[in-house]
Amino acid sequence: VGAHALAEGPLGLMERSEHARDEAVAALFDAHYAPLCRLAYVILGDAAVAEEMVMEALLKTFSGWWRIRDLDAADAYLRRAVINLCRSRIRRRAIEARVNATVHHGEQRRRPDWDPEMHETKRIVWEAVLKLPERQRAAVVLRYFEDLPEAQIADVLECSIGTVKSQLSKARAKLEKTLGPALTGGER
């Protein structure tokens, strides 16, 4: 602490320190917000909810200043927080859907927000991924969108590598079944 800081007094120091923290936290936000939004969007298929999940993940992860010290691990922390929040959201949505299904028979499920210009096959593939159970969906997105190896996926999903392998295998089997025509180049 220099002479200038001492002359400034404790309140001034606190303010400066608060300001520096806000700046640092905002810089972290800038670095991570967009990539995490993309990850959440690919999993959820809902732009507004994806942004809200990322905001919540950033708030949770960086609420305590002490957690920001380990900046090298920020990527892993944030990714795990986003995935956990997205999985909870999917589970909650599934329960809501079951309840709604009993109340509103025949009401159509909300379709994901996709770009009308998107290639038809890619849209079909994404739609099939969005129908996978939450853990399989998260594993598939981490593998094919984030390009993570199985060990890192296991770390994010907090399970064993064997479980990741079995979840990916189940997901592939389901997708192959669903995407038969798209895989073979047929029309749907």
């Binding site: 936290v25 708030l59 593939v125 159970p133």
Partner: protein, 378 residues
């Protein structure tokens, strides 16, 4: 497969790369403000929480009673009380706990029921037919054993926690008692008459058999996914581990040197983190080192039994088989082998017990109900 990998990679990257958050600058501002508010709330919340925690510790510090073991887990409190009695189907037998509820096999009406743990009521009934005797909850599916039809029914659990799709898997044997357990990405089934251990792969449903289990009548999977079987060899009960959850190879048979008795029926095996536990139809509960010898035993009475392990505690439910259907639930510590607290007398022919994060659950075979229990200190 390579086509699918490429298709997934191309499609998901295309979706993600095309997406841009709506207004990052506004979101950044919102984030900074929300973080400041949350930190402010947290600083006051922490002080209040600390005060509450201190008050609770003072309030809950146990009296100096040497018989009472009362570590952090509330299920160790001295007295057990039935808090809920939930009507289920006809003759409930096996019970297991899953993420979305407690699953019960009703052997009298061919159904399996899911109990909602929040509302303490049956949330779902799945008709599997036959006489389902036992259930095991896996990661994505429920496995139901029917000894009379020699069929294991796989019920896929939906992402919301309910039942989705049923697949019947036939265990290739005549009528047998089947004991069933899940662990190590597989379901393990014992067919008692021939004493063979079967492994059903949880992903592919492929069945392997292992003849080395030596007249096995019960199976339990430990925390490493290794199945242990309780069986018989040369007139003596034995416990056998199969190596690394792989039925095609085996380790040395652990012989309990006759301490487990010689009869075959009505015994149950549970693999704890430190010891193996066997409850016998003679009313004895034994604790064994995984290496072999019996290191503790207790007489709890009764003529049939179910046993379960959860977080270092072993729970044995025993029934007397009398007209009143009386029985007892007794707890032991897996580390020391000591009894914990006082046993709880039960009625309605208590049959099986499952213990998990949400409490202690017992099936009552003659009163067609499941009771939920909690531990109290007075």
């Amino acid at each position: 497969m390579r086509d699918l990998d490429r298709l997934l990679r191309d499609s998901l990257k295309s979706v993600g790369d095309a997406f841009a958050p709506s207004d990052p600058a506004a979101a950044r501002q919102r984030y900074v403000e929300r973080r400041r508010r949350r930190l402010f709330t947290m600083s006051f919340g922490s002080a209040a929480a600390a005060a509450t925690a201190i008050a609770l510790i003072v309030y809950l510090t146990p009296a100096s009673d040497p018989d009472v073991r009362r570590p952090a887990l509330d299920v160790t409190s001295r007295f057990l009380t039935v808090t809920e009695s939930i009507p289920v189907g006809d003759a409930p037998s096996g019970i297991d706990i899953g993420e979305a509820g407690v699953w019960v096999a009703n052997s009298g009406d061919g159904t399996v029921m899911r109990i909602n743990q929040t509302f303490n009521e049956v949330a779902e009934t799945v008709d599997v037919g036959g006489e389902p005797d036992d259930v095991a909850v896996g990661e994505d599916a429920l496995w139901v054993a029917d000894p009379n039809r020699s069929v294991v029914t796989k019920v896929e659990i939906s992402e919301a926690g309910g039942a989705a799709e049923q697949t019947e898997i036939e265990v290739p044997l005549p009528q047998q008692h089947l004991d069933i357990a899940f662990g190590g990405d597989a379901v393990w089934v014992v067919a008692a008459t021939e004493g063979i251990l079967y492994r059903i792969d949880a992903d592919t449903d492929a069945i392997d058999r292992w003849d080395g289990a030596r007249l096995a009548s019960d199976v339990s999977v430990d925390g490493d996914g290794v199945p242990w079987t309780l069986g018989r060899h040369q007139g003596r009960r034995i416990i056998t581990p199969s190596a690394e959850a792989n039925v095609t190879s085996s380790r040395v048979i652990t012989d309990a040197s006759g301490d487990l008795g010689t009869t075959r029926a009505n015994a149950d095996l549970a693999a704890g983190a430190e010891h193996l536990w066997v409850s016998l139809n003679t009313g004895r509960v034994l604790m064994l080192d995984p290496g072999g010898p019996v290191v503790a035993q207790h007489d709890v009475g009764g003529s049939y039994t179910g046993i379960s392990v959860y977080r270092g505690l072993v729970w044995a439910v025993t029934g007397s088989g009398d007209d009143q259907g009386s029985g007892m639930l007794t707890r032991f510590e897996d580390g020391t082998g000591d009894r914990v607290g006082a046993p709880l007398p039960l009625t309605g022919r208590p049959f099986d017990v499952a213990v998990g994060r949400t409490g202690i659950w017992v099936t009552h075979n003659s009163s067609d109900s499941v009771s939920r229990l909690r531990a109290t200190s007075d």
